[in-house]
Amino acid sequence: METGNVLHLLSAYLFCLGLLALLLRRNTLIMLMGIELMLNAVNLSFVTFSRELNQLNGQLQVFFVITLAAAESAIGLSILVNIYRNFGSIKTDRTTSLRG
């Protein structure tokens, strides 16, 4: 099992963990962390593929993904604050007023 395969499996594993976090946890913060996890998995996959292909392109994209993750978490957290102000809690079982 050389490193390439391990790292690919790890990135797939992290991606699924991210999905699991989204599905499982009611606490929106943890769901945010789930999304971060998925993005990390993407980064790992990018880097591993770029190493296999001997290209710089993959690593470069990671740079963009990281900045994007930063922007996204900023917006995510401010939305979270907004939710906290309106609903008093950040649990998704409270936020079901829009339905039908």
Binding site: L19, L23, R26, T92, D93, S97, R99, G100
Partner: protein
Amino acid sequence: MTTSTLSVLPLWILLLPLFGFLFNALAYPLAAGGTSKTHPGVAGSVASLFMGASFVLALLGYGKILGGADALHQPLYDWIHFGELKFSLALHLDPLSSMMTLIITGIGSLIHIYSIAYMSHEKGVSRFFAYLNLFCFAMLFLVLSDSLLGVFFGWEGVGLCSYLLISYWYSDEANVQAARKAFLANRVGDLGFVLAMALIYTQMGTLSFAELIAGVSGAAVAPWLFGAAALLFFAATGKSAQLPLYVWLPDAMAGPTPVSALIHAATMVTAGVYLFVRMHVFFELAPALMSFVAWIGVVTALLGGTIALVQTDIKKLLAYSTVSQLGFMFIAVGVGAYQTAMFHLMTHAFFKALLFLGAGSVIHACDGEQDMRKMGGLAKALPWTHLFMLVGSAAIAGLPVFSGFFSKDEILYMTLAQGRGNFLLFGLACVAAFLTALYAIRLLTLTFWGPSHFKGHPHESPLLMTGPLFVLAVLATFGGFLGIPHEWAHDAHQLSLWLSPVVAVTGGHEAALSEALVSGFAVLISVIGLGLGYAIFRKNPDLKVLGLEKLWAAKYYLDEIYQAVLVRPLHALGALVERGLEQGFMFRLGDWMGTGVQWSGDRLRAIQNGDLQAFTLLLVTGLVLVLGILWTWAHI
């Protein structure tokens, strides 16, 4: 086919009554400012003028044909010329239709003159005369046209006019119902006519009489021929009030009496007989049907006669008498004696019109009273009417010298002489003749002789009414001499001579009894009938014949049967369909679909419960399904 000379005469005979109609329907009311302001004298005289002119032209036509021209032909125009459907209208005056035109215009003008006086006290009478003229136009169109389609135009036209005239006093609901019954009964018959035309056209590609007769003569007997003949007969029963569809004629008496005289005695009801005589070559090819026709004729004659015996209303009695006499004509047609049928048609027109108009003057005198039990002893008050009614009754009963004697006896003779005739038919016909004598004398005794039950003081009718009565009385007495049987005079039976170019005389093989013997026997029956009748009715008008009279009075419960079998189930079916299918299912179909979709919408709404976890679950399941399908596809 005989040569026919082009002439414009038939067209004018036809158009004159139409102009009369237009004058009375449009010109005069518009000029006078509304029908109510029209004066009966003006309307009546103008209408009679047109009818008289048409009668003169008919005479001219008769003269031309007598003078050697076989027929006068006047092509009108192509009515429909489309793809395989080609119909054109043309007028054709030959001896048969000339005879009919003479009857229609002759008796028509007499009745027009009579109604001037009869309807004098009515308000807005131009409408009445307009309808009368329109009727004559339609009847003339029927007899003059040279194709089945033209006949059908006239056929339905007279049906329409009879509807209009029966419901002339439309403010009274009973008249309106009677008119509707008449029109619907005719419509049922007319459906038979249309289907027959469709059948014939599909087979022969033409509806014109000339081509039909040429095409059919010499052809083998075919099932479709029987079908077409049956349908045409069904139509004739509708129009000429024979057994199945005669119920409308007695109710048609709701109309004014001149209408009954013209339409329900002389002209319209004879249309069926005319049609049979016109297409006799066609009908000869369906012998089975013809004997059926004869039997229908005799049964109707008996039926009419029996019911007439118990009638109390003078016009109803005459109506049933007409039904019975028409039965006689159909017997003649059934057995194949077409010329005899036409002869009886003519004489019947004379004496039945006479009887009706006479009854009219009686009613006029007793200011509208129609129930014979309330009359009686009018002979002194109405001497002329009494005389003319005597002549009429004598003719109908068939006393010698009078026209009825010659024509009815010839029919009785023909039931033996013709191929399809037989003794049973002859016997029943004699019973019918006996009944005729009975109800004839019943009429006379109840209205003119015996104790007078009438409250008011009846006055004789004015000249305008008695004049036409006189003319008709003359015709009723001497009309018979046109058809003296061969044995008795050398140039006998003018009428069959006159009709021979159109109706070939079918060879009558020697009958068991000679014609003289049969007529003697017939006279005997009528004299016995008259005597017996006088004896019975002098004492009390209600006849007791071992309980049968109740059956006859109830008109064999035929009206009730029609009501139960046809009218009520129709309405019930309609109501059932309306409630069950239309409201129950059809209208709610839309709602069911609506609620069905609504229901499924609500069910689907459940998956949209706003919970984020549920959304992510759905999203990931979608993802997994897509990937899973791909994975299995790649690995199979």
